[in-house]
């Protein structure tokens, strides 16, 4: 199972400079999962950058993605993460919840383009594989969680 962060969801329904990379991902035989949180964030983003692309999201949710609306398990995992890292958890609530959500569904991989706010580093620390593959920025951010 591959958990899709909101930025990857948006990138999968718009024409953008990473479309070919996203296309290769979607051609993977692994199942894809879009949380209600990612769905909401993606729709909010699309309303400002490409409103017409929302119908593509509707289509992928029917044809390609699994969608999860169960918040409770995800929140409990996020709380567990918070208790583990305490003040070292510099990742914001929503990004922590994305990682918690991925863990709650037993995802193996966390797909995100967000290299600024820490969800990739947090996912890596929690044992998830990253897509795109982890790079120097991710390893640097991971150090902050381990400090």
């Amino acid at each position: 199972m591959i958990y899709l962060d909101a930025n990857v969801v948006v990138a999968s329904v718009t024409n953008n400079d990473h479309s070919e990379q996203v296309e290769r991902l979607l051609r993977s035989r692994k199942p894809f999962y879009v949380s209600r949180l990612a769905d909401y964030e993606a729709r909010k983003s699309l309303s400002s950058i490409d409103p017409g692309a929302e119908k593509n999201l509707d289509q992928l949710l029917v044809e390609k993605f699994n969608q999860g609306k169960e918040w409770e398990a995800a929140i409990m995992q996020a709380i567990k993460i918070s208790r583990r890292f305490k003040q070292r958890l510099w990742v914001d609530s929503a990004d922590t919840l994305h990682v918690g959500w991925a863990l709650s569904i037993g995802a193996e991989m966390f797909a995100s383009f967000d290299r600024d706010s820490g969800p990739r580093a947090l996912a890596m620390v929690m044992g998830l594989k990253l897509w795109p593959e982890a790079g120097p920025i991710d390893f640097e951010q991971r150090k902050l969680l381990k400090a």
Partner: protein
């Protein structure tokens, strides 16, 4: 795949083997389990179970159509998703 009744799984088995547990899940029974008296969220939710939707979708046609839309940058996508600093 073998069906498992997840409501009955508890204790350290879940903590150490939850991925193995989810691999055997066909239909979600529950995804909150008791672990040493505490509720834990460690197993796959019902919506995450394999569904027959995969496989039939024409990605070639989808991306061909997508590439006809106006191009935007990933930085614009990321900027649209930035949240306000938390209080």
């Amino acid at each position: 795949m073998k069906m498992k009744t997840l409501q009955r799984i508890s204790g350290t088995f879940v903590r150490h083997n939850w991925k193995a547990v989810t691999e055997g899940l066909v239909e979600g029974k529950t995804f909150l389990v008791e672990n040493h008296g505490k509720r834990e969220a460690v197993v796959m939710s019902p919506e995450a179970v394999d569904s027959p939707k995969r496989g039939g979708f024409d990605l070639d046609a989808y991306f061909k159509r997508l590439k006809q839309r106006p191009a935007i940058s990933l930085s614009k996508i990321n900027a649209s998703l930035v949240r306000s600093p938390e209080l």
